[in-house]
Symmetry: C2
Subunit: 376 residues, 2 copies
Amino acid sequence: MKVTLNRNAFLEELATVQRAISGKTTIPILTGVKVDLTESGLTLTGSNADISIETFLSIEDEEANMIIESTGSIVLQARFFNEIIRKLPESTLTLELIENNQVIISSGKALFNVNGLNSENYPHLPVIDNQNTFELSARVLNKLVSETVFAVSQHESRPILTGVHFVLENNELLAVATDSHRLSQRTITLNDVNTSFDIVVPGKSLQELSRSFKDEEEMVEISIMENQVLFKTEGMNFYSRLLEGNYPDTNRLIPTNFSTEIEFNVPELLSAIDRASLLSHEGRNNIVKLSINSEQVIIYGNSPEIGNVEEALNYIKVTGEPIDISFNPDYMKASLKSFGAIDVVIKFISPIRPFTLQPNDDEINFIQLITPVRTN
Amino acid sequence: MKVTLNRNAFLEELATVQRAISGKTTIPILTGVKVDLTESGLTLTGSNADISIETFLSIEDEEANMIIESTGSIVLQARFFNEIIRKLPESTLTLELIENNQVIISSGKALFNVNGLNSENYPHLPVIDNQNTFELSARVLNKLVSETVFAVSQHESRPILTGVHFVLENNELLAVATDSHRLSQRTITLNDVNTSFDIVVPGKSLQELSRSFKDEEEMVEISIMENQVLFKTEGMNFYSRLLEGNYPDTNRLIPTNFSTEIEFNVPELLSAIDRASLLSHEGRNNIVKLSINSEQVIIYGNSPEIGNVEEALNYIKVTGEPIDISFNPDYMKASLKSFGAIDVVIKFISPIRPFTLQPNDDEINFIQLITPVRTN
């Protein structure tokens, strides 16, 4: 195996597969990156228990400017490999596999000789068939993820809730996440998809996935197998395991009748909640109180040791009954952030029933639910 | 006490005194910032066991645009105070002391009511006379600090070595730091200073000091007392305690006869050392080897587990005997960084004697010493 190529092009591939490589794994070969050189180009692979990422740099890539002298493969310690490549003195580098799994990395006058591992011992990636396949743009996929993934559970007590539930049926793709205190659900309509599925993808996999796209406009081909999903772009295969088990029925949780409705500008409400939560964060109960009546809307926060805060909120419109309701400001902040700079409608039933948040437009394709905190 | 002022101007002052405030102190009132309002302006104070910082915002400061309705003083929890001010909705804010040490902080519709502490319980800052006083620009002072402070000891086993030794005599100001493995010494000539002293200032104080100046061109008045030093600028008083004890005589450590001399461009040498140290960092002995002869200069690094690296170095000029010498690359990197993008002359006596580094110009006012590591 011997190849000369552009350092930055190589570094970019390395950075992508590195997302799947953990220094903490108990399987030594998985701390490495697998380098595979064929006549058509260079494949890098990184993997951990949850995700595997494979990138491909084609011999025809102009920026990479690859000169392949001989093919072969090797596994190299990911952390060092990356640091070495990053610090090389020139804009091109040469990788050469010599005897005993040793690799010479050279650039300018610098010459590293590093110990690799036999690539035959590297685990095989799952084989995915192309039965259950559909396409989304990276932009739409990233939006779907960012609108839901924040609401997955961080606790392993109910593992199924650490994932986002995706259901595709009749050209409708539903994504929903809940940690049982709050819920976020998004529906999008796809065109002419001849497949249907019901899967739960780990939230952490989705977060890594959404950081791995090079270009928001590229198309992502999504293939679903029994216990794996593959997200495939032109230069990358991103595999994630699926979570096993039944996801709870979340549809029945979403209320339909309300007694109070109020409309806010999201950035304004977000900064006010942020201020109100400054002190409540320090108290035993991390709650803020919202008090709505037809004349004014006030948010309260307090900490017995430090002090208290109140602020009259600007709002666009309010209808229905007066209400005083307390909630965890962190849930509210995460929810508001996922909306971006739009106006949002919040609908309440009572101080002890979950309330909903939705964009103020007519379509009901994005809805969030937050359970309030009972106070006396 | 009641004042209305510009939020950003106030935040800037807060950020400065915050450098002296530690959340870890065992003296509760020192987790606070003291706010003092007189008819001439606003003084903020922060303090810990090592340093105290006092800033003054004048009633005449145009950006601050202060309206003082009544004077007074209070101590407020620094961490919350800063966060509250930072998140206020408008560009001005009002601070008002009401009964029971409570302070109302208001801006726009947001209204915080926070608990303060009686400012009479705040410790008094040292009184400094103006006997031992001289002036330096912030730029010169910062340079002096950055050229020496990296070499102070990080260990408390010999507390005196955790400081920088400053000696002023006959208009010559000497600054020297050593952790007994390496040393950095800088001398500058001052004009018409009618004072002399011999003090050791804690390295940590100097690091905070050099981050606290608003403007590199401002003049700093330095006053020295028995166990304190005051660095005074127009808007800030920065006090540091001095270290007690005798600083070792470092002059006799600096060699004068050498067998090998070599000249390098600092940025080039620094990146090569950086590469060579990538692998040695992982080994038991964090050392790299430099091998100099009249034909070539090579740097070597290795780790038994990961591999090895060698690189032929570019150099400007070499004279004297061939030498192979091993050293801790971290000391070399810290030393080179303090020189900036210049050329440096390194002079060796033997593989077991300390070597010197100096700028390649004639003046011998900046010299560093690194002790090599003996290998067999």
